[in-house]
Symmetry: D2
């Protein structure tokens, strides 16, 4: 009955700034889309570390008073992705520990592929694990390393782990930021005031008024020390395998990720999709918000008018009330509503970023047909999602991925569309200026790297 | 120190349905955009009325258990618009009262222009007022009417009030729906199962699976009685003066209001704006969500590409944390973020539905300039808002309306735009197929009807 | 389906004090035992009245910030008793109204016996009732009175009502305090700083550092006006019928009520009970907290040692968890626990203030027998409660009062006691220095006055 | 800046019962007085362990639904004492860990005196500490022990720790309960249904209907295995040093602790105090609730009447509102009120269990003097508290203990009493039938054992 938590989330770090924990808070706020289950910040004032973490949104976990107790000029933070059914506060980050060199705190975005082996080996040597997070491995590896200095121990530790990781470490006096050799997850460096900031996405920099410097390189370890420029250590030779799904779905459109703007990449996918999978139709409609940029691209390329003919409701709420007999597809209708006047009698192309289980697509298409659409053509701005992600994106098991179990034709029938087409993997890579060799597309191809 | 509450909100009524209060709940959910401060439902089972109302969103006020206590086959409901600084639960609706004919409950959308005179007259005769809502007047007028039957009393009462009102009344056995002779606020009739539903907007019908029948006419009173078709009484000759602002900003895009679809009307305004106030530019960007349909219209008409280059953040939260020194325009940035890559070096046309105080427009334009926009041209899909509304839209006092106090040129300078242009009133009316004579445009012209 | 709320609660008024609403808050806190369902305060600053009221304990309804909005040098307050199943916020007090003389707010402790007749008459004349509180009658009577001045109207109004009332009225500039001619419910006058305070019980004065002046007399109306001593008006000749149950159970032991200390009166009852209903036993044990003073009296008079051999648990909480099979009488055991070592093998006299339904007594006796008591003798420091109260104490209907439906012998058998004895009505009156003529003992005798 | 948490609290364990976690819940409820900061339960179903823990009272942390997820026939639980300023959820118990033998969960009441040495040694060998609880040491010692079986490892581990501990361990199939060789903290064994229960105090048994079997012996380890009687292992020779403060203040009066009833022991102290420190007076008044049994004993021995002349308020609440100028000693008055009529003009003996800082005693005496007491004589049913506890009672540092810094005469003057006397250590020991050799009185004598 082994459980393991995929660590999909956002990480941030702020170094040498008067209001480090407040900046970390705002960065986490900008990165809230990467994880809504839990949030936490550790800060350090040179003498000790302070940690607050709890279940819930960033705005729920923190207030002015709590931020005030997170003293010091350095802070790291984390938001955690919602994993159904497990709301243990113990599995929130940062993970704090006392060890032979003092105190340390770690935040981690990604997923270790050899977590169980590492853990088993550590446990065999007498280690105890108090949480279900991969991150705990790292702390043990650092604590048990034979090296004397923390820097060397971090190097030692990351050499023993495999998989995806964008990490930020905080000790009493230093901060470290590290990215795995594949650069699966993004991690960028910025300047704020006289200090530095690292964050999973650049949208965090924009909110706090920080200036983007550069991405941390795959395999690079950055060391932040007082009154020094960040020191760069190439722990591994970079062999980039960036996660293409950051472009497809995960990252925020206003972020620059892996050196390119996410909105633009999504729009490019839409353009490519229009070329590759054209269809005669009266209007292009996105599934909001994910499908919007691709739909705009598709519209511009095809010349078919773009319309926001599916509305997103902002007042969803948590209380579930049983529907009455007259009410069909309540779940999707509470969230999305069709503009019937725009859809009635029209041939509609619906654009979404991906199909995971197929149930939502089916409900949306039904809703459009109920609204009188003459035809509904589904276009997906990425290839069929056939394989789960082991590097930190929250995809369901293979048996629940509709594209792993049905052909496109079968899916088309299941979702009751008049036609269904996906963007090819080749076109996807081209549209983001990538190659098979430097991007991970395992969720579409099943070709896992690590 | 007289206070009076403008009653801007949504009303619903369900008659002769097994799950009346549950349907009312879902209708209110669909109408949540018309009022987030408070919500309430009264139901009746032929013997007595039941009322639950409280501060907060519909999903907060009700749960399955509470709805179960709202028994009976008839229910009316209300959501109330947020008026800063007054959160008295006493001013939530429905307003319930016992009087000489038994019990009654009322919901009201609109604003009475002779409320104070009516109240003063009633008070002079010994009436007491326990709330600050105009609606209380109506209950008094009905209770004090010399007529014997409730129907006659309602007719008697509405003849004594002036202004905007879409009303639903519930007695122990009947329901009444009434619209003022001008038809300021919308009110539509639908069928659900074997029963009837009335609601401020048709989007409520779509959610509950009701079928739209027709709008209730200006000056019409509909009487709902068990096992009878609704009886129509023309209390006043209709002299339509529909609120144009429902099209400009207030109603939901997927609703049909005054017989026309709101999204389409907004898109038409964008088309008209492109014709009337063209500008050379590289892209059209809406202020989300209000400006989206008009921006699409503007783009299609002008041929300038549409881009969703301003993103809306869905995780705003309530805790306010003071920004740091580096952080500019936090308030708008927490809500909206620019896609810098799309904006940098570009000539941008920003489309919004209206400018009220000017402060938000100014912040948005600054944000776009900070993002590197070469030029920012503001285009507004309605005329300058120069006058407050006395018929139920929540506009600030005249001294706070920027267009009442500055010329367009001055506003352009204040908001730091490269150009600013509004849609003319004539073009606005044309674009929605209206005439001066059947629409109220007082907020743009100062020509009040009542 | 007429409902009417017995108004059992506490009232306070503070006049001409810098921090009037704060003092009202603390008074309500001291009077929390008289009502836990809802709390409210109205204040006045000479120009307008401000009201905050809500469900819950005083400490939940108010905080420093809310109290700050209750401006002015005068304030009245109210706590409301929990009535099962009705938690409507509308039925909280103070009741505020605008009427022809301006604004007024009222708080009321007691119960009107002619409320329905008065209401029916008012409704017949066109009045509307928005709550289920008797208090609303008073506002109508004042608003409709033909007198010109508020003072005269209050006199006019109270002449039309019957029953129990301790009232405090607040207008924009004055405060009025009134007690019914029978003086059913207590109401005392005190000085605080340069101002005045009235409160249901003197324990409120002790908390805020006010000095007790005197009780307001039955039938007396006190008028508080700026820079004047309170003016006393004898509206009715006093015909005292104080509620004996205030001594038996309702008031706080540290209060002086009707001129005498409650703890002392309860101890006297215990002394009288020991004389009238002696029993051979090893120890005297009170049911905490109500039975403590009488048990001390009984012990001192009988010479049988007093022991606190039933403990009261302070952490009860609201979540109810189903017990397991092994767990008997969970409900009483969560609240009360026996000191088994003190009880085992002993003949125990259990002292309680009254028996209402009998179920709690039965559970307590079972618990003591389970703890090994050789004999359990129940002694009640008041006569059998045979009749409901119509003057403001929350007793159940007659059919649920065990003493209305069983003889003492039958009750003794039902509660499984070895003996049961009550204090006689005569002894009760003697022990508090009262006579039949000046105290109401209707709950024990069925002889109602009004 | 080393921090360490004294682990003062309650522990429970239930083994081989259908509703193990529910019984653990009710036990914790009965033991809530031993810790209000946090609560937690781990259960096991033979396959895995389940843990829920959170801040707050037991009734807040758990509900029926959460208990249902704590599956299995074995459960251990913990409540944690409030330590000012540290509300980290990480420091709640049970402490759960995965290690080489699988999963384990531990709860601990007590305090290890060699915690820092043990931790430093463990850290030196590469261990990491994620909390500030001594208990984490134990888990490490067990995980790193060279023994093969958990039982032997527990024996191995406890041999390395010193101090006070009542521990319960849960593995996937077994439960272990262990008490330190001194038996500082209580731990009793009971039967419930066909299973077993261990708990810090017997009051837990009474609530759940369990039968007391015996105390677990100092130095004894009990092993609970399915379908076997508990196996007893004498890990250490018992050298009893029971905590006398459990009798003085900590335990619940209805519990039997160290073989004797707490209420009776407290009453005996009162009797001894009356003999040793008599005073001429009119009445004996306890400080509720702690002083009640001793006051009853003092009264019975001295013949001076006992009166509950200080009342405890049950509605304290958490919101703090600043008092007004007139209000003295608000903090104590919100909690305690004098019955002025009983006190005025009287010579009062106030009985309390101990004086820690002296500030509360001072406020109480002032309050009684304000109430008109002629004389106030303070009598304490234990010796001066001169030394902090290192074995699990939450006493402040020595510099804050008034008796460590002032003579009795000085304290008497400081608290403004007419006389002050403490029970001697000899009399205290006699009154509970103890000797210096088998009880720890270090808080009164400074003679620490370990």
């Amino acid at each position: 009955m082994e459980r393991s938590l995929n660590e999909k989330c956002a990480v941030v770090g702020v170094f040498d700034h008067e209001e480090a924990s407040k900046l970390a808070y705002f960065c986490l706020h900008a990165l809230q889309h990467r994880g809504q289950e839990a949030a936490g910040i550790s800060s350090g004032d040179g003498k000790q570390l302070y940690t607050i973490k709890d279940r819930g949104l960033v705005t729920r976990v923190f207030n002015e008073q709590k931020l005030a107790t997170l003293q010091g000029r350095a802070a790291i933070g984390h938001t955690r992705y919602s994993t159904a059914g497990d709301d243990s506060i113990l599995d929130a980050q940062p993970v704090f520990a006392r060890y032979d060199l003092g105190e340390m705190s770690i935040v981690h975005n990604g997923n270790l592929t050899n977590a169980q082996e590492v853990r088993d080996a550590l446990i065999a040597k007498g280690a105890i694990f108090q949480t279900f997070m991969d991150t705990e491995n790292l702390i043990h590896l650092i604590a048990k390393s034979d090296e004397e200095k923390l820097l060397d121990r971090i190097v030692d530790a990351v050499k023993k782990i495999e998989g995806a990781y964008s990490l930020v470490f905080l000790s009493r006096s230093k901060m470290f930021a590290m990215r795995d050799p594949y650069g699966f997850r993004p991690l960028s460096l910025g300047r704020v005031g006289d200090g530095y900031v690292v964050a999973s996405e650049t949208c965090a920099f924009d909110l706090i008024g920080a200036e983007f410097v550069r991405d941390i390189e795959p395999g690079e370890l950055l060391v932040f020390e007082k009154e020094k420029a960040p020191q760069s250590i190439r722990v591994f030779d970079p062999t980039p395998k960036h996660c293409i799904f950051e472009y497809v779905y995960f990252a925020r459109p206003d972020s620059d990720v892996f050196g390119k703007n996410v909105y633009l990449m999504r729009k490019n996918m839409g353009v490519a999709l229009a070329r590759e999978k054209p269809v005669e139709a009266d209007l292009i409609v996105p599934v909001p918000d994910g499908g919007v940029p691709a739909a705009i691209g598709y519209s511009q390329e095809s010349g078919i008018p773009f319309e926001m003919a599916i509305m997103r409701n902002h007042y969803i709420g948590r209380t579930f009330i049983e529907p009455t007999q007259e009410m069909r597809d309540l779940k999707v209708k509470m969230k999305l509503s069709p503009i019937i006047s725009m859809i009635k009698g029209k041939r509609v192309v619906v654009i979404d970023d991906s199909i995971v289980r197929g149930t939502t697509s089916r409900r949306i298409i039904r809703m459009l047909k109920d609204a009188g659409a003459a035809e509904v053509h589904m276009r997906i701005s990425s290839p069929p999602t056939t394989d789960p992600c082991y590097y930190g994106v929250d995809t369901p098991d293979k048996d629940k991925l509709i594209a792993a179990n049905m052909s496109s034709d079968e899916i088309c029938k299941y979702i009751e569309a008049d036609s269904l087409a996906y963007l090819s993997n080749t076109a996807l890579l081209q549209s983001v200026g990538a190659t098979e060799s430097n991007y991970c597309t395992a969720c579409f191809t099943g070709e896992y790297i690590v």
